[in-house]
């Protein structure tokens, strides 16, 4: 068994976990983050991608709304390349309750969310797909945020301050002796290696798995696991986030993301944090809900569906109806007070929008525990070092503005290397993924960095295979570039199947129309021509 020391162990590589790692590292406290799979395996990549302005919560929960607008402004400042400042509209339709609209306007002015009314004719000109039943439109500073980019930006920032992380490292139990935390037992799920990490403090940031992690220490955290289904559309349907101006319900938000648009979500309590399968009726339900905002929804191509599990904190052990009644706000559970275990804390609930604030609170608690007085600087220091203007210009002339800007957002300070590769050998500029415009040079770069072990890792870094064709063409083009990693030829075959399975999983619930044709083409290419299979084909 491998053993080593650190002051703090963080369990969970979601937004909350990486935010804590960054904050601790910036405050000079040695810490290591352990993630059972890859970064963003949990809810932080299976979410709607809305950087809330607070508008959605303003009527029900002013505190949550206030946190959102504050964090919204901070994140736009410190993480501009992870965020697209789309702005958002709250749209009041013909038969919607006017009292709610009044309460909403009052709430926004109390919480100081800037609201601007948009003339309806102008709104329809700017967003031609919007329902003709719209009566009022208000603009707020919503934005879209990319989960993967945000996670990686936090990790990189933490690394600059000596923060450490290990992926594919599952914490099997928290080690407690005489009511005191001593560290964690973990296992590398790839190699089977057992690891013991000694630490003074353990932070449970395992999201929907937080209950299980707490239990391994003999503590208790009640999490309501609330599933939300989301649909991904092939293209930009709207240029702005579109919210329905009514009490929050299902299927009432469209969020534009790069080339796609995501409609969501639903709210359904499930038993396990891994229970993110999608039923056909959930999809048709969402389509019906979305139709109220977008009349022509049936003609818009859906390319996949996915679901995430909200880790909602259940304070008292009372379960009230469905998940949405419970506060989405976060809680810091000090297990010394609750279960008599010192040095063990769970951070649960919250939103991705407020991840930095949650991390700040946790780190404050840690400092307090360790008797340190260091102030938090995560709201001031930029997450991402700026890219030189000269380099930007070079990339833009090389790839064209649209493509270069997307590349820059993905690569940031690493852009230089890719640009160098392509200027030395223009053939490296060949597009491997044409839907999302990803070059050979960029994939090669990712393969040799970022702890890449699989094509799915490449996907999370680049959007490879996340566009219209869902991997039909880029898979076989990209796989040779992984040859260095996966030396045995058999492994490459397996890798293709793994990647396609993962893509296929999201396509199965929406197999109709164009995506059905696309899947048949994919099947023809891989099953028939190349003779590699999709394991889950039978489903």
């Amino acid at each position: 068994m491998r053993e080593f020391d650190t002051r703090v162990v963080i369990i969970g590589g979601g937004a909350t976990g990486v935010g804590i790692l960054r904050d601790l590292s910036m405050r000079g406290i040695s810490a290591i983050l352990l993630e059972q799979s890859e970064l963003g395996h949990g809810t932080s990549s299976r979410f709607h991608g809305l950087l809330h302005s607070g508008g959605r919560y303003v009527v029900k929960d002013e505190d949550a709304a206030r946190e959102c607008i504050d964090e919204n402004e901070i994140l736009k400042r410190i993480a501009p390349t992870c965020i697209e400042g789309t702005s958002g509209w709250f749209v009041h339709l013909q038969d919607d309750n006017p009292d709610y609209m009044k309460a909403w306007l009052t709430g926004c002015s109390r919480v100081k969310i800037p609201v601007k009314e948009i003339d309806v004719a102008e709104a329809l000109r700017l967003e031609p797909m919007l329902s003709r039943h719209v009566e009022k439109v208000y603009e707020v500073p919503d934005a879209s945020i990319d989960g993967f980019k945000l996670l990686w930006a936090n990790i990189r920032s933490a690394e600059r301050y000596n923060g450490k992380f290990m992926t594919y490292c599952n914490v099997s139990s928290v080690r407690v002796e005489n009511g005191c935390v001593k560290g964690v037992y973990a296992e590398n799920v790839r190699t089977g290696e057992k690891i013991l990490i000694h630490s003074e403090i353990v932070i449970n940031a395992a999201g929907p798995w937080a209950g299980m992690v707490a239990a391994s220490a003999g503590a208790q955290v009640s999490i309501i696991k609330n599933k939300g289904v989301l649909l991904v559309f092939n293209k930009r349907l709207f240029q702005r986030v579109i919210n329905r101006l009514r009490a929050p319900r299902d299927g009432d938000i469209f969020v534009p993301h790069e080339t796609i648009t995501i409609l969501g979500t639903t709210s359904y309590t499930v038993g396990s944090p891994d229970d993110n399968w999608i039923m056909p009726e959930e999809v048709s339900y969402l389509m019906n809900m979305g139709k109220e905002l977008l009349d022509d929804i049936e003609h818009q191509r859906v390319i996949r569906a996915f679901a995430g599990i909200r880790p909602l904190y259940e304070e008292a052990s009372t379960v009230v109806g469905e998940g949405r009644e419970i506060s989405r706000d976060f809680a810091l559970v000090d297990h010394e007070k609750l279960d008599g275990i010192t040095g063990f804390i769970s951070i649960v609930g919250g939103k991705l929008t407020t991840y930095r604030l949650m991390a700040e609170k946790v780190t404050d608690w840690v400092c307090n525990k360790l008797g340190l007085e260091v102030v938090c600087r995560t709201a001031e220091e930029s997450l991402i070092p700026p890219v030189e203007e000269k380099l930007k210009d070079k990339a833009r002339t090389m790839f064209g503005v649209a493509m270069a800007d997307k590349m820059m957002e993905r690569l940031n300070d690493r852009l230089g290397e890719v640009v160098k590769q392509v200027s030395q050998d223009p053939a490296q500029g060949q597009l491997i993924c044409e839907c999302e415009m990803i070059t050979k040079a960029e994939i090669k770069h990712v393969v040799h960095e970022f702890n890449t072990t699989s094509l799915n890792d490449v996907r999370r870094q680049t959007r490879l295979g996340m566009g219209t064709c869902q991997g039909a063409f880029c898979t076989y083009r990209a796989i040779p570039l992984l040859a260095d990693l996966l030396e045995e030829p058999g492994k490459l075959r397996e890798e293709i199947t793994d990647f396609l399975d993962e893509r296929w999983r999201g396509v199965v619930p929406i197999l109709w129309g164009e995506q059905l044709r696309e899947s048949e083409l994919t099947r023809a290419i891989f099953n028939t021509t190349l003779g590699v299979g999709q394991r889950e084909q039978g489903r």
Partner: protein, 414 residues
């Protein structure tokens, strides 16, 4: 639903099969051109996202529409490309084409004005355009390649007023309206006159109003507003006839395609009918034959010909009606070369920086033509499109004419 954007909707039907790129004549010879899939549906998703346009590549497409004829999914690929060009032309922030290029777009786009200029002094223009020094000037000043085969100009076709007296019931008269187009009008008016003769021979009165250029060359050269004005003008002239089901006949394949595919998008009266009421000359003649109305008293023609299918005829999706009609003539033997685009594609090959590419695209056709001639398969080529004709003569040095001339011989009209 009125507000649905069909071009954007058709983006969704693309399944990325790449059939379009495999067939694109420019992709075949220019490895740096991303191809129709990339420039059309792929880039369209990006354009919808950021509004930023992949500018440079836009001009590499020759607008031959082979991609659209190929696509099994009905994606409006060239509409997307043209829309992006239009957007670029409106975008003030982007340094668009240099003045020279804009001027050239103006000249090549306005075949009509160049044409009018040409027919006032046909002899003079031809001499002037034939002069090396003049071509050198065009090359340097406007970027119009000095090697490109600029067509000669002659006495214009002119208009033919409607003879129908007031009160006469238009419906009862067998009448067609002929849309000759700029090339026929100014460069080959005799072909236009022959089209009229044939139409009269098969029993139709022919009306030719004072049409403007159909607009396709304008679109292709980024003069979008002017294209719109022309379409509106032409549709106004047609409207009364369209209402009483008078067919509109074209002999130029690009004009035909524009009338069939682009005019229906203009919001003026008549636009809703023009698509179904426009016929390529031979398409029309074949439809008469199907009704047993086409005179079949042909004179036997002991003749062998090579045929080139113009891209814009293929894009009309009507097969090759001229070959069907010519096959009715006894003794005739036509070799359909079937080797794809000639490379000139409207005005593409006249552009200085496109000349080489255009000749490379056409190489297959030139070779096939020369081989045919060397084997003694045929001595002459036929093709419906005037610019294809000019390009074949330039690239292969084999005389080429519009198939209407063969029909005319068979009817004893020429």
């Amino acid at each position: 639903m009125k507000y649905r954007d069909d071009v954007i909707t058709s983006l969704d039907t693309c399944i990325k099969c790449s059939a379009c790129t495999a067939q694109c004549p420019v992709s075949k010879v220019n490895p740096n051109f991303g191809g129709p899939k990339w420039l059309g549906p792929d880039a369209e998703r990006l354009r919808l996202e950021s509004g930023a346009i992949l500018k440079l590549a836009l001009d590499d497409c020759s607008n031959c529409k082979t991609c659209e004829s190929t696509c099994p999914s009905g994606v409006k690929i060239t509409d997307m490309i043209l829309k992006a060009r239009r957007k670029r032309s409106l975008d003030q922030n982007t340094p668009t084409l240099a003045l020279k290029m804009r001027l050239r777009g103006y000249v090549l786009g306005r075949a009509e004005y160049l044409g009018r200029l040409g027919v006032i002094w046909p002899g003079l223009t031809n001499k002037v355009l034939g002069l090396k020094i003049m071509r050198y000037g065009l090359d340097k000043a406007l970027g119009i390649s000095k090697f490109g085969p600029l067509p000669p100009y002659s006495q214009a076709l002119g208009i033919r007023a409607d003879q129908a007296k007031d009160g006469q019931n238009r419906k009862l008269e067998r009448k067609v309206m002929y849309f000759p187009g700029c090339y026929t009008n100014y460069n080959e008016p005799n072909t236009g006159r022959m089209v009229i003769k044939i139409l009269e021979h098969v029993g139709y009165k022919v009306v030719v109003p004072d049409f403007h250029c159909c607009g396709l060359p304008l679109e292709a050269n980024g003069q979008f507003a002017k294209a719109q004005v022309n379409a509106t003008h032409n549709l106004e002239l047609m409207e009364n006839y369209l209402q009483v089901n008078v067919p509109i006949i074209t002999s130029c394949t690009s004009c035909g395609l524009t009338l069939k595919e682009e005019y229906p998008k203009v919001s003026v009266p008549g636009a809703e009918r023009i698509g179904q009421q426009t016929f390529d000359l031979f398409e029309f003649l074949w439809s008469l034959h199907e009704k047993n109305e086409l005179p079949l008293n042909f004179i036997k023609q002991e003749i062998s010909l090579g045929y080139h299918l113009p891209c814009h005829l293929r894009a009309q999706g009507i097969g090759i009606p001229s070959l069907r009609v010519l096959s009715l003539i006894p003794g005739i033997n036509v070799h359909n070369l079937d080797v794809g685009c000639c490379g000139l594609s409207g005005s593409y090959g006249f552009k200085k920086e496109k000349y080489e590419i255009s000749m490379q695209i056409g190489r297959g056709l030139f070779e096939a033509t020369k081989i045919g001639v060397n084997h003694g398969d045929f001595q002459e080529m036929i093709t419906e499109c005037g610019v294809c004709k000019v390009q074949i003569e330039h690239g292969a040095g084999v005389p080429t004419k519009h198939p209407v001339w063969i029909l005319a011989q068979a009817y004893g009209l020429a």
